[in-house]
Amino acid sequence: MFAAKPVNLRNQQVEGLFRLLFGIMMVVLIVPVLMIIVMLVYKGGPAFSWNFLFTFPTDGMTAGGVFPALLGTIWLVVVSLLASVPLGVAAAIYLSEYAQQEHWLTRVINLATINLAGVPSIVHALFGLGAFVLFLKFGTSILAASLTLAVMTLPVVIVASWESLQAVPRAFREACWNMGATRWQTIRQVVLPNALTGILTGIILQVSRAAGETAPIMFTGAVFFLPFLPAGVFDQTMALALHLYTISTQVPNVPESLPFGVALLLVGMVLIMNSTAIMFRMYLRGKKKW
């Protein structure tokens, strides 16, 4: 009575086949990531030391540490965030809360923002060179490089913030408006507190992207080598990503462990920041209020 009919057997076979197929795809995806990390730790691990993190490069960048590059990357990320976060979140609030959602202009702007996120970083680099270095006369400096990074990350900050704002149920807004709240009161009291998780996650993910980019900073503020640390935003700086490029391709006789060490540091920073973002998101999700 419960014997499988041929059609059932066939369905089971197909089910098994697809299960296997998707499983293989997952392995194909995971293996390179694991191999990269294992390789980096194996080859770059020996280079890691207190001195590696906190001293200057020596002997024509074939020995010594990466301190100025590490500090430079932190400079670039922090300054670019200071520019992109307030601008991006404000723009997202306008697009999500004030602009007429059905208006053609709003749609065009939304579409443009999403497309802007897909512009190659080298194009942003050239834009930064023209706009910040030459036109605004910031010169090649941390400021120009950070603003270029900010322009590059801005669309993604806007889209991530917009999406988290839109995820707050419309009923909350209606309830507030009907109580006699202004739009800003509604945003301040109800919408923003509930959208904060998503906005922060979006921002942290952008930090890791900004930290890893080479092209946008190459023409606008980062240099191969500096014998001193930057003192302000109008100075040039070294940066980890560019340093890695330099010692892997431009400098002869670099011991193998050095570029791997830099790569490990860069990937480690990104991994730590991303996991922090994910953990933070999980923590706030646990406190999710509706």
Partner: protein, 275 residues
């Protein structure tokens, strides 16, 4: 609990006070109201007066323009780019478009939605939100008193008095709906508009809320949009029947339900032949 239903059948208004007569002062005067969304007409040609301290029922199937009617009164057309309202609405004798401060108008009119909206903040903050938004700087004590009073009037106080600091959005559906009513009351409104409040609420809670409304109407005017014909019969002094964006009929509830209707569609709807 069964008593609620029986009681309601025996006596429409257990509070004992008489319904406001036709000479009662008008709370809300609507004249030739038309509401459109883009090119689509949601409601047209509605003229009616709602008297102070009456419970005014609005019945009708979905897409009749009932909710749009409430939205127009609260000037929600300002928040929606495609909603246009023509005709006049006078609240307390003043054209609602003449109110310079639309936020003050909205504070005088409390709204309860079909699905309970417990805002994701504590129970206390839910009720204290409106007074805080209005810029009245109430002392902690005054605010505490107001919160307690509103929760008591919404018949929720006994259930939540020990956990005012827990999240309002985690209450059950019926509790959240009473929380919504408490929140609407915290505005100290002159008029309360309920939009199918019982849609997501169990029958027992529905009866409790109906009792609350009978009490409240002594202090304020109530517009009760409802999908339950019997609910209008139990509560409303007068009832309007909306159908497909048209106000088909307005009459004393008792008269409508005893067959004195001018339009056969009203009769059919009340008898459940459609809708």
């Amino acid at each position: 609990m069964v008593n609620f239903a029986l009681q309601a059948k025996e006596d429409q208004h257990p509070d004992g006070s008489a319904a406001p007569g036709s000479d009662a002062p008008v709370q809300l005067a609507v004249n030739k109201l038309e509401i459109r969304y883009g090119g689509m007409v949601a409601l047209s040609g509605v003229s009616l007066d709602i008297r102070q301290n009456e419970i005014f029922g609005i019945i009708g199937p979905a897409n009749s323009g009932k909710t749009s009617f409430l939205n127009a009164i609260n000037r929600m057309d300002m928040m929606r780019s495609n909603m246009t309202v023509t005709g006049d609405i006078h609240f307390n004798g003043v054209d609602i478009r003449q109110w310079r401060n639309v936020y003050a108008l909205r504070r005088q009119i409390g709204v309860v939605f079909p699905l309970p909206v417990g805002l994701p903040m504590t129970i206390y903050d839910n009720v204290a939100l409106a007074p805080r938004l209005s810029g009245k700087n109430l002392s902690r004590q005054a605010l505490d008193d107001l919160v307690e009073r509103c929760l008591r009037r919404a018949a929720l106080w006994d259930e939540v008095k020990d956990r005012l600091n827990s999240l309002g959005s985690l209450l059950s559906g019926g509790q959240q709906q009473r929380l919504t009513i408490a929140r609407a009351l915290s505005q100290e409104p002159k008029m309360l508009m309920l939009d199918e409040f019982s849609i997501a609420v169990d029958p027992v809670t529905t009866m409790r809320i109906e009792d609350v409304l009978k009490e409240l109407r002594q202090e304020m005017t109530i517009i009760l949009v409802t999908n339950l014909v019997q609910q209008a019969q139990r509560l409303a002094h007068r009832t309007a029947f909306f159908l497909n964006g048209e106000c088909v009929e307005i009459g004393e509830t008792e008269a409508l339900f005893s067959g004195q209707v001018k339009d056969s569609r009203t009769q059919d709807y009340i008898e459940g032949k459609f809708g």
